[in-house]
Subunit: 318 residues, 4 copies
């Protein structure tokens, strides 16, 4: 049935159009979500949106979206709903709260949550959705606001093979690389574990670059050695935290732009939570989380997460 609808949709569309286009719902029109929603409209979808901020809503309204007064109202009118929310508690609220999606959701609705939250919550809410005969997949993204705007996000998707295939055409309106990670929750697992390694290696590369420089080594030479041997990693090669090593890195423009320390702190916090919930040790993950918590507490939350190099490098003489 659903695949029929998809087929109809695909047949009639330059790629995504259909005679009676289904309305897609979108909740959470922040820095990421606003771009994702706009891209869904660009690809020809009728969009109904909801956000607590009137300003955010108006921007999408201008682009042709209709507006719902609550997640519940939106859910009454949509067969596919995409959400992009800050944290687990917002996901719980928007789906399971009063006037939430699940209070009115139609059987068969496809729910695509692109928020980054802990896998446990993702599984819990998905299970509740299934009790309402709706299908909820976790589809966290990587690629930042740039990727969201350009429609080149990577989606890490957790759900059954067939549900993944249903979700894919919608996700392809917003992203370029749609990866099926396994059953429900594994999208979040992949995202959390990826960013765990990323955060750890960024702090590690920062410590090593700082140590090497302080011991008298040229930073470009040191990075060059890393990148051709066993220290090679994304944080060193493509995002080196030492100013001047890479021309276009956030480090070379005062740690502006990029991926904020506060966001890395949040993602490492999810890893810490997930590990704690199943009793797994995470010694370096915890240390890295503490480093970012301190960075944020010291006012560096809005700077790119490679600012940890600067934090280690700088000396104060109180």
């Amino acid at each position: 049935m659903f695949s029929n609808r998809c087929t109809v949709f695909l047949l009639n569309n330059a790629r995504y159009m259909s005679t009676a286009k289904p309305t897609v719902g979108f909740i959470g029109l922040g820095n990421m979500g606003a771009h994702q929603a706009a891209n869904l409209i660009k690809k020809g979808h009728n969009l109904m949106v909801f956000d607590l901020s009137k300003d955010n809503v108006n921007k999408l309204k201008e682009k042709g979206a209709s507006v719902a007064s609550s997640p519940a109202e939106l859910a009454k009118n949509c067969d596919v709903i995409v959400t992009m929310l800050p944290a687990s508690k917002h996901v719980k609220g928007v789906y399971c709260g009063e006037n939430g999606i699940l209070s009115t959701v139609k059987p068969g609705t496809l729910l695509l949550d692109s928020s980054t939250i802990d896998p446990e919550t993702a599984r819990e809410v998905s299970k509740i959705a299934s009790e309402h005969k709706a299908t909820m997949l976790d589809c966290p993204v990587s690629g930042g606001t740039g990727g969201a705007e350009a429609g080149t996000l990577t989606f890490m998707v957790g759900g059954s093979e067939s549900d993944f295939n249903k979700a894919k055409p919608y996700l392809e309106c917003m992203g370029k690389n749609i990866v099926h990670c396994g059953g429900v929750g594994t999208g979040q697992v992949a995202k959390v574990c990826n960013n765990l390694v990323l955060g750890i290696s960024m702090v590690g590369v920062s410590e090593a670059m700082n140590l090497g420089v302080k011991l008298g080594m040229d930073p470009k030479k040191l990075a060059g050695i890393f990148n051709t041997s066993s220290a090679r990693c994304w944080s060193s090669e493509l995002y080196n935290p030492c100013p001047g090593v890479l021309e276009n890195s956030p480090a070379s423009r005062g740690y502006t732009g990029g991926f904020g320390s506060a966001l890395m702190n949040k993602d490492l916090g999810l890893a810490v939570d997930s590990a704690k919930s199943i009793g797994e040790p995470l010694p370096l993950g915890n240390s890295a989380h503490q480093v970012y918590t301190l960075l944020v507490a010291k006012g560096e939350g809005n700077k790119d997460f490679s600012v940890v190099y600067d934090f280690l490098n700088k000396r104060s003489d109180n």
Copy 2:
């Protein structure tokens, strides 16, 4: 062919050329040094060796090396001396101790220390050598016993440009990739910093692979995501610590072979020492060092350093 190049070099270099080939000295004939010394013989050098172990000495004697009764006797007879020793105190002893190299060293002798030691000691001993009018360069290696045997080691060399050029032909007899890192000591700095990132990222990848697997994700799929995104690193891509992800990794053969946990513990200890000596913070380096210290204390020192995955993964029920 390679030995030809060595010969050509010798012919063209007034300083080290002689009708009778100069004798090269080699001290420290352990797992690494024995192979390096053998490669120097293969490339046509007359070799004089010293080691505390008679067995080690005899193996090289059989390959044509002459034998010295002490570093001092060796230094009297050689214009170039290569050393490969376990730790800083052995380097201090062999160079500066009673009957040490510097007690008899000839002015102009080229001293190539391929041990991995702390940069401070490297600089200190090099300075003492220069007071004896000898030139000492730090040339630590990467590539393991395999690389030592095949003559494909990477040498990270600290010393002046011109001294580096003098050393290069000898190092090329034992290695493939000879990198000039900067002034005296920077070879050790590069080695220590590289292995600092390596140790941290290995523990980080192990934590993340273990967390992902315990949260229900397929390890190959998880590694695949890491390797195509921002978690990509040597430890994940070429040396994944989770059994079965890479066919030929130490993890897939019971953590045998490879680079022992005890050696990684030693190298992280050098990073910790170096950072401490100049008052630099090293939060993750210290955490990683603690993980390996614990691994060694629990009897895993001889297993490959990727065994940290197994340590985190395994459950005991006392």
Copy 3:
């Protein structure tokens, strides 16, 4: 004598006095709760109990308690309810869930939660209770099962001064030391912070005792020095983790009895959570939590939390 004091109190306090004694409810009859409930009966209270385990319920029934079929039924019949539950989610469930206390609670009911949970949840549930016109205080305890049986627990109470005074006579039936910590939630704050220091100092004393002993020092002499100088702390003086230092410590009887590592792991986890929720750094708290997580993963969760000394001290030769 003590029961006299209870009686006197009841005579002088119009609000809680009655010719027919009011029924006290008790939910959570585990290792701690069963003793607390029994002590309320001993002090003359009519008790109504609920627990998911029939066995637990029957033991209290034999001592004279009446039995409720659900928290909701219990709440209909009681003016004062004490709860003793394993973790935050159970507290949420028992109070706010279907058939929970708050679904039927009578206005003016005094709710005394002696569970150890995170302060945020304590405040959240208390706020919901107040919307039902009931008063909920957090009253976590210290003193272990021994203190629960003997009625000598310490209660750390969060709530207004006047609510504290209402709660005190009931708590005095179960404990000896009833401390008013401040507003709602501060009982949990005090408990969490106390056990944070306790866990950190226990690991710290264990590291130092182990280091000293391995460096050749007599453990009793070392502990003696600690206890008369600036290393003095409860973990060293009254609960020394090194076997033989104190005759009656868990360490001297194979780390049996006492306070389990798994419970310390849970309490440190609460501190980690609380700090994370407000963005506060907790470097040693996190390290200590990781040590206990590893201990539990390695099968030592049921041993006394001073077993960390043994874990650091023991060598394995795999």
Copy 4:
């Protein structure tokens, strides 16, 4: 009175008695040593001093000390020598270096090193001293400059029972509490282990006080609960790091005076080194060391070591 006892001892002890009092040597006249040396003069000893700083030497000369031009010259003239030096390398230099004590030391000389250094160096130098037929004991102190001035230091002494008894009367001229810790090196072991626990518990108490205060608890109330329960420790009870909790703590006077963060960083560094040298894990010791290394790097090295509370508590908004 005390000097009487000193005299009596000297009269009764053949080995150290003489009609003309033996000259005591003192090397290292810094903040601590100057006071110790002055107290030896006060108790009636003839003192010969050496220090690299002319100013330091002159102050003692004014008090009646004679002056040596080198440790070697001093050692020729003294039967008992006390040293108070900043770190291991200075101890090695003053004892074993050119013109060092051991180059001229008389057989039977009693060498009392009150520096805080690593136990390994203490044992090494003591062994070399014994090869020169001199007896060297490690006698590190606690009590700070206040205790040094008042002559109320605690000495932790490593050496044989009989050597301890020979040293005691001299140490009693400078301190009040003279503790025999065991064989050579154990004085340093005791000092290092004591300050390891102290540093860890200070950071732990600071984390917990900061967490509690940020979660809305009154700091005096929280400290009161700690001090009457299992969080009780010297750092909370006598040296609470939260301003206002104790009237006379460094915390209540802007973290001035007291024991500097840089010194705690040094002592934790000794613990880290000692543990590393014998392969013992030290997870919290390392974390605490990192905290103090960061504090010093951020310019807080001269403030009292309880300033860690302030560091955790303060927020910056860059």
